[in-house]
Symmetry: C2
Subunit: 247 residues, 2 copies
């Protein structure tokens, strides 16, 4: 059993165990994995620092984070790219990379479990079900990344922003009705960087969506999606929760 570090560490570990396949939550393998895990807490805007020599697997127990890449070369000013936003329950692979380093930055206070990928896999090799669990999640992540790439490809600013809001709503879970309240943990800059748009364009899109009656905003981070089917349509007739209406 993992040594008692602190109540919150135990809490994070418990969440990790719970996310594993049911029958493995309390297996010896799970114990081993927990034992090699490093428990980290990040303050808002703090970056996860870890040995850049090894690949890492990071499990998010609580909080939201962004995975960013910044070209190491020259131009400091702009050019920060947000590759993905991550939420509790996500397992992220952070590969070491020579030219552009990838970093995980907390959007709000985060609780993480960090594993060395190699050591994790060495242990997981003893239990193929765990290996398969990680593999399945990776394939899904790959699939999601490809789907998003598809969208980045040729979509308008309106479509990207609408799609972003829809996908945030999917995470929030409030997909039930037509409307949905969201608290966005990320700034407009983060949103822009993740969509390949400028903050100004993002802001203008928010304004237009508000004027079209599709959303309502309040303060920086509170957004209310008033008509999700219409939003989904604005996003390009993709995934709408219940009703996909033809055009």
């Amino acid at each position: 059993m993992a040594k008692r570090l602190s109540p919150t560490a135990d809490n994070g570990i418990a969440k990790f165990r719970a996310s594993l396949p049911d029958d493995l939550a309390h297996s010896a393998i799970a114990d081993e994995l927990c034992a090699i895990s490093q428990h980290k807490r990040l303050m808002k805007s703090e970056a996860l620092v870890c040995d850049p020599q090894t690949d890492r697997l990071v499990y998010i127990a609580a909080g939201a984070a962004k995975l960013v890449a910044q070209p190491s070369a020259g131009s400091e000013s702009n050019a920060m790219q947000v590759l993905a936003f991550h939420f509790p329950g996500d397992m992220i692979s952070v590969l070491r990379e020579r030219d552009s380093d990838f970093r995980l930055i907390a959007l709000d206070p985060c609780e993480l479990l960090v594993f060395s990928t190699d050591r994790f896999l060495d242990i997981a090799q003893g239990e193929p079900a765990i290996l398969r669990w990680v593999l399945t999640r990776s394939l899904q992540a790959l699939h999601r990344s490809r789907t998003r790439m598809m969208q980045m490809g040729h979509k308008s600013a309106r479509q990207r922003v609408a799609d972003f809001l829809i996908s945030m709503a999917e995470h929030g879970g409030g997909l039930a009705g037509k409307s949905c309240r969201l608290i966005l943990p990320m700034s407009r800059r983060d949103i822009g960087d993740s969509l390949g748009l400028t903050i100004e364009t993002v802001s203008r899109q928010f304004t237009e969506l508000r004027e079209a009656g599709l959303i309502k905003t309040q303060g920086r981070s509170l957004v209310q999606l008033l008509d999700m089917p219409a939003l989904a349509q604005a996003a390009g007739q993709h995934r709408c929760a219940g009703t996909v209406q033809h055009i």
Copy 2:
């Protein structure tokens, strides 16, 4: 041992075995995997058709292929997106998807091994090293996908085309010197669809690169990279901005 289907089938299977971790190439597990593999040959432009109900793993033994996604809904005209190009030795995961179907289309005659992902993993569970092998490749694919997504984000047409050429050269293997000959198996349209650009823009970029003395073209598909360092720089820097200092 897998039943002898045909000389080419055996050839494809041999390549698959060779790509596995050394000590497993002739293991019983490898035999089992080969036994459940479906050997397919595709003509140029032919799509891989397989049961859309199950996820598939596809190993490319020979030929080049593109992974495309087309939004199922309405608009036929444009909106075909090329998610990735694949080459011999690649292992691709084709997930079934309800709204937008992903298809693998041959760019030239292809030789493929197709596995049901579930059955593959069921067998691979007997040999964690194979599971880990697939996982490692998936994480790399994810990483590549993210890197490309980053580029799709905010990069100019020039940067995208230059980067595309560089990455094609990496596949060709002729990375040694400053120059490199490439035979592109894909059309300008495919290139455009993969970069989120129109064929016209791709063509114009080729022209400009030619006029800048960075490449030389001959016919549709032959491209000669004359100055790869300069190309790499064009792929990286060259922030559009108001002040475009010519090269």
